[in-house]
Amino acid sequence: MRRIVPAIFMAAAAAAFAQQSNTVQEIEKYRAALGDGNPAELWEARGEAIWKEKRGPKNASLEQCDLGLGAGVVKGAYTVLPKYFKDSDKVEDLESRLVTCMVTLQGFTPEQAKKDPFGGPGKKVAMDALVAYITAESRGMKMSVAATHPKEIEAYELGRKMFFFRGGPHDFACATCHGVDNQRIRLQDLPNLTKQEDARKAYTSWPAYRVSQGEVRSFQWRLYDCFRQQRFPELEFVSPASIALTMYLAKNSNGGTFNAPSIKR
């Protein structure tokens, strides 16, 4: 059965081609029209204010937070994350590092710092605004995740295993949708995240303003919602697995030019 099928589908695919290429062109036009005037800028502005605002029991700002390039360096910091941090003895991504700084610098409890990871209708949170501001400060710079420390290498390897892990009632793995070239889900192109070129394009386009939700979504949210749609249980915010998978994807994007926050469907 499997063997005779392709020839038949080829014919159908050829007939569909003319109409399809037109659809793809129009979707491109749609994306281009939104590119000019990205509401993520509203988050970036709010995030910068929160970064500098004295908050928490210690009434301190986050301005002395070490995001990987030294205390207080925001410019380019996102391009080296995730990264091993000596002070916390952990591999941390941006969101995890912000939680660490909210605890050490501002005196929040870890629970308080992690309480509102994602915004929603009528609910503005500090985290995604901070993420928008900090990532925007890496725009135009090249991804350069080191992954040399043994814990970084281990995180990468574990992240790779997670990427191919099939589970849940639908048998989905990340690789189900993101392990093959040139495929689409509905009209959205699916990057093959095991390949450098696609991984670069995809990773460097997050965070993004999602027009379907009217929110800026961080990379932690991207993974959280992918696993929801994979029918897995809930991925915990800044959990070790989320950081390992981010390490795998971020490192695969090395050399790509960071270009976010972007705007997406």
């Binding site: 129009e26 979707i27 749609y30 889900i185 009209l187 027009v211 379907s212 939700q213 469907r265």
Partner: protein, 157 residues
């Protein structure tokens, strides 16, 4: 945009009744509301009723109005439109979405010295004709329309 949302957008029983009451002249447009917000016009369901609520008699199709937008929107929550008018003495430009619960999305008054050109983004509940309506300084209405398809996206969940 899923089926549930489409249904939600259609569930406008109350507003429809109010619209009828208004069409029957039971409410005077703009009374109990902000003086400069034309509630009557925003409650209408058709181009004709919208034109009436904006003080006109009818609208004529015009080739001097251009609607620039993608033919297919990746998501109905945000659909970008640029409307440009070459109709002499354009005084206002409105954007109407035929199949939305209420047809009028936005109206822009264009004073002298401002280009008859606007670029904004509207919501579309489903695939629909979109109408650009132009009012001239002497109170006449002209329009152009185009269909925009709204697609479903992503994992669909």
């Amino acid at each position: 945009m899923n089926v549930g949302r489409r249904k939600a957008l259609q569930g406008t029983g109350g507003a429809a009744v109010l619209g009828l009451a208004m069409a029957a002249g039971l409410f005077r447009p703009g009374t109990a509301w902000a003086a400069d917000w034309n509630k009557a016009a925003f409650d209408t369901k058709s181009l004709n009723d919208a034109v009436k609520a904006m003080g006109g008699a009818g609208a004529a199709e015009s080739k001097d109005i251009t609607i620039t937008s993608p033919d297919i929107a990746e998501n109905g929550a945000v659909v970008p439109f640029t409307i440009a008018s070459k109709v002499p003495n354009t005084a206002a430009i409105a954007i109407l979405v035929e199949k939305n619960p209420n047809i009028l999305a936005a109206n822009f008054d264009i004073p002298q010295g401002t280009e008859p050109w606007v670029n904004t983004r509207v919501k579309m509940g489903q695939t629909s004709n979109v109408i650009a309506l132009v009012k001239t300084a002497d109170g006449k209405f002209h329009y152009a329309s185009k269909e925009v398809k709204v697609t479903l996206g992503g994992c669909g969940g």
